[in-house]
């Protein structure tokens, strides 16, 4: 388990969604919105191409917390704002800083997800119970 006292960074999580990730996530999650899986449709509605599911990116933010805390049982709350859009085949990085609490009990983490230097999840707050 990472050290989790105010000012500490949680271990950075990096993941590059492959070309077909959005198709697998659509099947796994049940969200088949064509903006995520159909390149032509996405372009026709003014997007640069297929975009990542925001909830997949949120799952990466959640995973950064559970890996830092030592398992899924420690994540009690996660609130995020989605901004911009993520795209496949570009690395996503999740970072976070402990704001309150720790090393045991309730810990509050401020966290974001970035891709190509832009935040795609911002103002996110995670509550861990250690």
């Amino acid at each position: 388990m990472a050290s989790l006292t105010p000012g500490d960074q949680i271990p950075e999580l990096k993941i590059t969604p492959d070309k077909y990730l959005t198709v697998r996530y659509a099947g796994a999650s049940g969200d088949f919105n064509p903006i995520h899986i159909d390149e032509e449709f996405a372009r026709a509605v003014g997007l640069p191409g297929r975009i990542l599911h925001g909830l997949w990116t949120m799952a990466q933010v959640a995973r950064a917390q559970t890996e830092a805390a030592g398992g899924p049982q420690h994540l009690r709350r996660l609130a995020v704002q989605f901004r911009g859009m993520g795209v496949p085949e570009q690395e996503v990085t999740v970072t976070g800083t402990v704001k309150e609490g720790g090393p045991a009990g309730r810990v509050l983490v401020e966290t974001v997800a970035e891709q190509n230097g832009k935040q795609i999840i911002r103002n996110a707050e995670a509550e861990l119970e250690l």
Binding site: R24, A28, G30, W56, M58, A59, P72, Q73, L75, L78
Partner: protein
């Protein structure tokens, strides 16, 4: 056109979701989860869980089907063409494991307008077969040009 707020408080029929081991694995692989408690039943049992554990964000799988009919409710008049998923919150209770049966009820928590943007906020409450609240979700959709 002002937003139509008369549906605030409206509750929808609950959905029941049977949590399966293979669905948890499929979801875990799709989100890059490598903790064996999500994948290997024996590892899950050795860690003290009854069966493979759903990652917390698996909430979208069991709660999503309850929220979708609310979002498509014609009474709400949400313009999908101009909508983005603006925010999401989950508050978790006891972990969900394979074999659980999760009942989710969705409500319209708020509909409001600020600076030309419509905010449509839905809440989902999910309970397991023992009546324990396993997850409460707040789903915020933002519609431009209301």
């Amino acid at each position: 056109m002002p937003v139509n707020s008369k549906a605030i408080g409206k509750t929808y029929d609950p959905t029941v979701y049977a949590v399966g081991r293979e669905k948890i694995r499929e979801y875990a692989h799709a989100v890059g989860e490598i903790n064996p408690v999500h994948i290997d039943p024996q590892a899950a049992r050795e860690a003290g869980f009854a069966d493979v554990v759903a990652p917390p964000m698996f909430a979208v799988v069991y709660a999503g089907p309850a929220v979708i009919p609310a979002m498509f409710d014609p009474e709400i008049e949400m313009n999908f063409a101009m909508m983005v998923h603006g925010g999401q919150e989950f508050v978790w209770g006891p972990l969900v494991v394979a074999g659980d049966e999760i009942t989710t009820t969705a409500t319209v928590k708020d509909i409001s307008e600020r600076a030309g943007l419509g905010y449509y906020i839905f809440e989902s409450v999910s309970v397991n077969q023992r009546g324990e609240e396993v997850c409460r979700g707040t789903w915020t959709n933002i519609v431009r040009g209301v």
